[in-house]
């Protein structure tokens, strides 16, 4: 090997090392806060106020306390009721609309579609006031029902846009073939479209689950006790004095674990979901 070739090899190796070093830095930066929370959740109370202690004997006492003292199961049940109903209803209502946007031609279609999407962009604090007042008049404050209705208001537009993109990806020829064979529009929707967009449908559903599961502001102001969901549990730990760090971290871990698992499942669709189907990454 000539010295020139050897130098080049060294440079290449150094570049690779630098690349992976950079990756490690990035990954640590984005994962560390989460690691820290998980670690805190299994530390004993004394260890939580001693950040110098990197190696500690894990304990489950915080987790047990959260279930025993903080009524965790009630919050969990409320979250599940709200999230499952929101997801199913949003998909059921969005699918026909998405199909119409994807396949039919009508006047001002794009304008209507973008107006629908803009509903998804409303700041939560803008919509919380009218929902709060209207909910008070009808008397459905602090029920899962009002949360479901409100969550549908931003998940239906999202679902319409996502599903529209997935439907447009399917060649129309397939449907035409079904029509020629005597399928009605409804039948072809169920027999042709839905099976073909099944992965997209599942991804959209998971996005709706994550969005409704994570929602905090609306849940905080539209419910007070009965219908509270998991994210609002974080308000238990807002006072500065006497924060029980371990329990706080446990609530955090238990709340985020399901969404983290779900999000890894749909990693492939992440960008598409985060941009409302605008970009098919």
């Amino acid at each position: 090997m000539t010295s020139e070739a050897r130098r080049r090899t060294t440079v290449r190796i150094l570049k690779r090392v630098g690349l992976y070093l950079g990756l490690v830095v990035v990954v640590v930066a984005f994962a560390f806060p989460f690691y820290w929370m998980v670690a805190t959740s299994i530390k004993t109370r004394i260890d939580t106020i001693n950040p110098a202690k990197w190696i500690f004997s894990p304990t489950l006492e915080n987790l047990t306390l959260v279930f025993a003292k903080r009524n965790f199961l009630m919050y969990l049940r409320n979250s599940l009721v709200t999230v499952v109903s929101t997801t199913l209803l949003s998909l059921a209502l969005a699918l026909p609309a998405a199909y119409a946007f994807a396949r039919f031609r009508f006047k001002g279609k794009e304008n209507v579609a973008f107006t629908v999407l803009s509903l998804r962009m409303l700041p939560a604090m803008c919509v919380v006031l009218p929902y709060f007042l209207l909910g008070r008049f009808i008397g459905i404050l602090d029920t899962s029902l009002i949360l479901i209705i409100v969550y549908m208001s931003f998940n239906i537009p999202f679902a319409i846009w996502m599903l529209r993109g997935f439907i447009e990806d399917i060649p129309i020829d397939l449907e035409e073939a079904a029509w020629i064979d005597g399928c009605t529009l409804t039948r072809s929707l169920f027999r042709v479209i839905i099976p073909l967009i099944a992965p997209g449908l599942a991804a959209t559903a998971i996005f709706i689950v994550i969005q409704s599961w994570n929602e905090f502001a609306l849940a905080l102001f539209l419910t007070s006790f009965q219908a509270r969901t998991l994210p609002t549990m974080s308000t238990m730990f807002l006072s500065v004095t006497g924060i029980v760090w371990g329990e706080m971290a446990s609530v955090g871990v238990l709340t985020t674990l399901p969404v983290l698992i779900f999000s890894l499942v749909i990693q492939k669709y992440m960008i598409r979901g985060l941009t409302f189907g605008a970009i098919k990454g």
Partner: protein
């Protein structure tokens, strides 16, 4: 569509209406009065002393988070745009901040920001520094850091997708022409990435106006009003202590208008991009 109309449009009209009244949560609904524009006059004339500071804080927050997220996001995207072993595993870590419940992110950082027991000050201890993260000096900086941590991966993922979509041809010819890597970045990568950059930044701007959860959990807009963004101002006027729903609604309307402006720009941009994308697809199919 009708369902959407009922559950979204009706509350919106209601919001506009309430914004013109002096409705107070402490009083009965029938005791409200129509007050015309006086809620808005109060806001813009500076009689509500926290309104303009809230606007300013919102703008600072928006400008700094969006630009930092862009720079870091672009850097990370470039880093990932190479041959990497087990790339999917590395990328999975970027998704953590994006999907964790925002309120929990608030808790998480609260844990790390704590002055006495927080891990950040513990690490800073090695260089003999100590920061009162959520104190008056650095509270705004702290929530900016959290937002950047949470959303830079989003920009990174989008720009990465954009980089992957660029074909290798322009790069090959540039190398043949003897362009330096800086020139390649400046004259090829950036221009080709521009549509993606614009979409990412607009989405981030809209979200910067929407943000509530993390800031509420971390500071509730405090200390004083130092981290009081517009959405936090809506909360404070409407719910905390006062219950002036009428006045709060008018702040919400201002926020709504700001968000709508950015959203409209976003729509325009995507709308231009969309037909082009569809046209590309048709070309692919026939070609």
């Amino acid at each position: 569509m009708i369902v959407l109309f009922i559950i979204v449009i009706v509350p919106m009209i209601f919001l506009w209406y309430v914004g013109f009244t002096d409705y107070d949560l402490g009083k009965g609904w029938d005791q409200r009065h129509s007050v015309g524009f006086s809620n808005y006059v109060r806001l813009f004339s500076g009689e509500d002393r926290d309104f303009w500071p809230a606007v300013l804080t919102t703008l600072i927050f928006l400008a700094s988070t969006v630009s930092l997220e862009f720079v870091i996001g672009l850097g990370v995207a470039m880093l990932f745009n190479r041959k990497i072993a087990a790339k999917a595993v590395w990328m999975a870590f970027l998704i953590i901040p994006l999907t964790i419940t925002p309120a929990v992110i608030g808790l998480m950082w609260k844990l790390m920001y704590n002055t006495e027991y927080g891990v950040l000050n513990f690490l800073l201890n090695f260089i003999s520094a100590k920061v009162n993260w959520l104190g008056p000096q650095s509270a705004l900086l702290s929530i900016i850091i959290v937002d950047v941590w949470q959303w830079a991966p989003f920009v990174a993922l989008m720009l990465y997708a954009g980089l992957q979509a660029i074909s290798t041809e322009p790069y090959e010819s540039a190398v043949i022409d003897g362009a330096s890597s800086l020139q390649i970045f400046r004259f090829i990568t950036l221009p080709l990435l521009k549509p993606m950059i614009i979409v990412a930044l607009l989405l981030r701007s809209i979200d910067a106006l929407r943000i509530f959860d993390t800031v509420y959990v971390l500071t509730k807009g405090g200390p004083g009003n130092l981290t009081e963004l517009l959405s936090l101002h809506v909360y404070r006027v409407g719910f905390e202590h006062t219950g002036w729903i009428g006045r709060s609604s008018s702040v919400a309307i201002v926020l709504l208008i700001l968000a709508t402006i950015i959203t409209t720009i976003f729509m325009r941009v995507v709308n231009i991009a969309r037909p082009a994308a569809v046209a590309n697809k048709i070309e692919e199919r026939s070609g």
